[in-house]
Symmetry: C2
Subunit: 504 residues, 2 copies
C-alpha cells in the first residue's frame, strides 16, 4: 500500500509538467485577473506599454553562441513618474516563470504605490517565458532540446535584468534614479537575489513569498504539505480527517468492479479519462492551490475563488446534508476550486492547457530548482510518503536527459545560516510571508538585520501583499502594505541623502 | 609625428600578447621567486601539496556542453591548520591569470600568518591557466578557437572557487571553518568580488592592489602612465626629462642612415631584430614593470631586481659619467631591469617566452577586461596619446574575431559610485594599494565603511604586502601587514562569536 501511495505522488510529480500541477514545484501562484479597481485604473490610463530589449543570450561566456541576442519583452508605465530630472524612482518587477502581463496584472501594489512615489513602473519578462524566447522567439525551437533550453537559468535572468535596467536608465537619462525591485514567489526570489548580487543596480527589494530556503538540506520536504494540512485543520478537525481518510477510500473504490465508474459519477468527471491517481492529483491540486491563494477577498486564478476559500472548502466538507458520503463532501470542496461560478457541467482530469505559459518551469525544476515539497509525515492531510531526490533525477533523466545540480542554488546564492551570513552583509530587503501559504516554510520568517527584515502575516497567503487592494481588505493586510510603503520610502530618502553626500 | 607616436602605442598594444607586454593590460605583476626566508620555510616543510578537483565547465547554463568537466589544480598546505574539529580557518588564494604555483610562491604573507591563525592554506588555480585547462587539459585545444576559449571568464572562475571551496570543506568535515580569501592584482579583484558575490562562502577578503575601478568611464586612461611618470619624476626631474625626451630621439635616430645599427649597438640588442617601435616597447616595459615592482627590498620577477629599482634606474640616468649620451643613460636604466645580474651579453627585443603561462589574459582583455591604461597627457613621461576603445575593438576583431563587452564588468560587479553603493552594503574587505603602483589609480583608496577599508601605502608597489617578509622591510610595510593581520583576526573572532550565537 505504501508503494501505491508513493506511486500516487510519483505520478503527481510526473504530472507536474502538465499545467495544473506545475504550480506544485513552481513557487509562483497566480493570484487574480484584473479586479474592478484595476479596471478603473486601466480605463483612466493604459496599464502599460509593451517594449522590447535586445538581450544577450549568454552573459557569462564569450563563445560565438553567447553573442546571439533575443528580444526581451518589458512593460512600462510612466503615468506617475516624476521624471529623470528629479531622479524619480523606478520600480522594477523581476519577472518569474510565466508571461509578464499576467504578473503585472496581479501586482496592483506597484500600480497603487507608484503615484505616491512618483515611480516609473517596469515589468521585465523572464527569458524563455511569454514573448521573451531566445532562438528567434519560437518556443518550438527554444524548447526543442537541451542545447537551446540550457540558457534558461536564474543567473542569466538576473544578468538580463541588470543589463536591461542599466540600458533603460541610460536611455531615459535617469542614471541617478533609484531602482527598487519587486517580485512574488520565484519572482520574489529573483528580487531578493538581485539585491544581494547587484546592489549597484537596485537600492532595495520587496521579495514577497519568496521561498529562497526551500532547497535540499535547508527546508524540510514535509514543510509544504504540513502547511496545507495546518490550513485545513485550522478550519475544522473533521475537514482534515475527511480529506486525510479519503485517499484510501478513493484507492479502494477504484479497485472494485464498477468503482471507477462510480468515482466518475461522484466527481462529475467528463468521459475522457479517469483513474485513481489522476483523481487524487486533481484533488491535491485543488487543496494545494486553494491553500496558496487563501486570500481574504474574492480572487481569480485559473478560475474564480471566493474569499477565504479554504474555509469554504471545509464548509462543504462539514456540510451536514452530505451525511457520511465522503465523495459528495470532496466533490463539494473541489467545486469551490474548480467551479465557483457553478457553470461547469463536468471536469476534465487531463487538462493540459497552459494559458500563462508556465511550462518552462519543468526545465528549471530539473536543473537548478530542486525544491523538495513532496514529503508527508503521518500527520499530513495527504498519504505519508518520503521525498526522494532520486525520483527527481529519474524524472529529469527521462524527460530531458539531464542531471539536476541540486546544490547549485545554495552555492550561488547561499541559504545555509542565512541569518548569520547576512546579519552584517547586505541591506534593504523585505521578505514578506503569509503563514497560510505552503511556500512560507521555505521563506525568511525572522528579521536578519535592521534593514533585512521579515514581515510575517499569520493570516496571509501567497504574495497577498502585492495584489490590488480592495475595500474589503482586512486591517492586517492594510497594515502590511503600509509597513512596506514606509520601509521603501526610507530606502529612497536614504538614497537621495547619499546621492547628495556621497556620490562621486 | 603625432600619428607616429600613436602608432608606437598601437603597436605596443599589439605586442601586448607577447609575454613581455602582457603585463601592460594584465594587472598582475609577478613579484619574486622564492627568497631565502621561503627556502628556509620550504626546507622545514613542503610548501604545499598539489591536488585536483573535478570542476564543472559552465556553471550558469545547462546545455550538454555545460556538464563537461575539467581538472582544476589547487595547492594545499595543512602544516599549520588547527583542524576541522576546532573550526580553524581556511585561507584561500583566488588565483589569477597565470600558473598558481607562481602566485603561491609569491604570497608569503599567507604562509607567514598561517601559524598565528592556525590556518589551512589553499591556492586555487584560475581556469585556463597553468594545469587547469578545460577540454582535456590541452592548451592547444582549449585555446584553439573562441568556442572553447569562451569559457574563460571571471564569473566562471568565481563560481569555480565557490564550488571547490564548498566541496573541500565538506570533504574535510570543516563546513564551519571560516574562509578568508586573498588575492593580488587580478587575483585581488577576484577576492573582492568573491566576498561581494559569495558572502556565504567567505567571511572576508584581502584584495591587494586590485584595480577594480580601472574600467571604461571609471578611471582615467591616463592614470596608469601618470603614476609611472610620478614615480620616476619623484626620483629626479632630470631622470623624467631624459626619458620623456628620449622617444623622439630614438625615432629620429632610427630614421637616419645607419641609425638602427647605432641603436642596436647602444642598447646591446642581439642580432635577431630591431626597429624603433620594438625598442620603445622594450624600454616602456622596463619602466612600467619596474614602477609596478618598486619594492623596498631586492626581488625577482622575470629577472632579479635591486631594492628601490626606480631609484636605481634614475641613478643610472643621472650618472654624470654618461654626460649627454641619452642612449647610454637609457641603456644603464634598462640594465637595472633586464640585467641586474650583469651576465647578459645582449638583449632580445622579440622575446616571447611565457614561463608563467599568462597568455590567456589576452583573451580576457578582449572580452571582459577592458581596462584603459594607454593614455598619455602632455606631462607624461611617454609620448602624448589618447586611449581609443576602437583600437581595442580592432585588435580583438583581428586576433580573435570577437567583440569586447566593455560594460559587462561594471554591470556584473559595479564600480560606479562604489562608496555610495557599498557604504551600507557588504562588509569585511581590505583594499590595499601602494601608490607607487601604476595600478593603484584604479584601486579603492578611501575607506568605504567601517569594515570595507582602504589601506594605502605611499611608498608601496604592486601587492607588496602579500610578499614574504624580509629583515630589511621598512617600518611602513611591517605596519601595513600588522594592520591587515589585526583586521583579519577581528573578522575571525567575530565569526566565532556569531557561530556561537546565531548559527542555525
Amino acid at each position: 500500500m505504501a508503494a501505491g501511495f508513493l506511486l500516487v505522488w510519483f505520478s503527481f510529480f510526473i504530472l507536474l509538467f502538465s499545467t495544473i500541477s506545475v504550480a506544485k514545484i513552481a513557487p509562483t501562484f497566480p493570484s487574480s485577473i484584473i479586479r474592478p479597481e484595476q479596471l478603473l485604473l486601466s480605463t483612466k490610463h493604459q496599464l502599460y506599454k509593451t517594449k522590447y530589449f535586445t538581450q544577450t543570450l549568454d552573459h557569462f561566456n564569450f563563445n560565438p553562441q553567447s553573442y546571439q541576442t533575443f528580444q526581451q519583452r518589458y512593460l512600462i508605465n510612466d503615468t506617475y513618474w516624476g521624471g529623470a530630472h528629479k531622479n524619480a524612482p523606478i520600480f522594477v518587477y523581476t519577472g518569474n516563470e510565466g508571461e509578464i502581463e499576467w504578473f503585472a496584472q496581479n501586482t496592483g501594489f506597484m500600480f497603487e504605490t507608484a503615484p505616491h512615489f512618483k515611480a516609473l513602473l517596469v515589468f521585465i519578462e523572464h527569458r524563455f517565458y511569454g514573448k521573451s524566447v531566445p532562438f528567434g522567439g519560437e518556443k518550438v525551437v527554444a524548447y526543442s532540446n537541451t542545447s537551446t533550453l540550457g540558457y534558461l537559468s536564474s543567473t542569466q535572468a538576473l544578468a538580463d535584468y541588470a543589463t536591461l535596467i542599466i540600458d533603460l536608465k541610460k536611455n531615459l537619462t535617469a542614471t541617478e534614479s533609484p531602482v527598487v525591485v519587486f517580485g512574488g514567489s520565484y519572482g520574489g526570489m529573483l528580487a531578493a537575489w538581485f539585491r544581494l548580487k547587484y546592489p549597484h543596480i537596485t537600492i532595495g527589494a520587496l521579495a514577497s513569498s519568496s521561498p529562497i530556503l526551500n532547497f535540499v538540506n535547508l527546508t524540510s520536504p514535509y514543510s509544504f504539505n504540513d502547511i496545507i494540512t495546518r490550513d485545513f485543520r485550522s478550519e475544522s478537525e473533521n475537514c482534515y480527517k475527511v480529506i486525510k481518510s479519503s485517499w484510501q477510500q478513493i484507492g479502494d473504490t477504484a479497485k472494485q468492479p464498477g468503482g471507477l465508474h462510480m468515482l466518475r459519477k461522484s466527481f462529475r468527471i467528463c468521459k475522457n479519462y479517469i483513474d485513481a491517481d489522476s483523481l487524487k492529483n486533481w484533488l491535491y491540486t485543488a487543496y494545494a492551490y486553494t491553500a496558496m491563494t487563501d486570500y481574504p477577498t474574492p480572487s481569480s486564478f485559473l478560475s474564480p475563488l471566493p474569499a477565504y476559500p479554504v474555509k469554504q472548502m471545509c464548509k462543504a466538507i462539514d456540510n451536514p446534508t452530505t451525511g457520511n458520503d465522503t465523495f459528495a463532501k470532496l466533490y463539494g470542496a473541489a467545486n469551490v476550486y474548480y467551479n465557483h461560478s457553478g457553470t461547469a457541467t463536468c471536469f476534465n482530469l487531463a487538462d493540459d492547457s497552459d494559458p500563462h505559459d508556465l511550462s518552462g518551469w519543468s526545465w528549471q525544476a530539473c536543473t537548478e530548482m530542486i525544491m523538495p515539497t513532496d514529503g508527508n509525515n503521518k500527520e499530513s492531510i495527504f498519504p505519508a510518503s518520503e521525498w526522494h531526490y532520486e525520483d527527481r533525477v529519474a524524472y529529469c533523466k527521462f524527460h530531458f536527459d539531464i542531471e539536476p545540480r541540486p546544490n547549485w542554488i545554495t552555492t550561488e546564492f547561499g541559504g545555509h545560516d542565512i541569518h548569520m551570513v547576512l546579519k552584517s552583509f547586505g541591506s534593504n530587503i523585505i521578505f514578506f510571508n503569509g503563514l497560510r501559504d505552503p511556500w512560507s516554510g521555505g521563506g525568511v520568517l525572522k528579521n536578519i538585520s535592521k534593514s533585512i527584515v521579515a514581515i510575517v502575516a499569520k493570516e496571509g497567503a501567497h504574495h497577498v501583499d502585492l495584489r490590488f487592494s480592495s475595500k474589503e481588505d482586512p486591517q492586517w493586510l492594510k497594515d502590511v502594505r503600509k509597513q512596506e510603503v514606509k520601509i521603501i520610502a526610507k530606502w529612497i530618502s536614504q538614497y537621495y541623502y547619499d546621492l547628495a553626500h556621497f556620490s562621486a
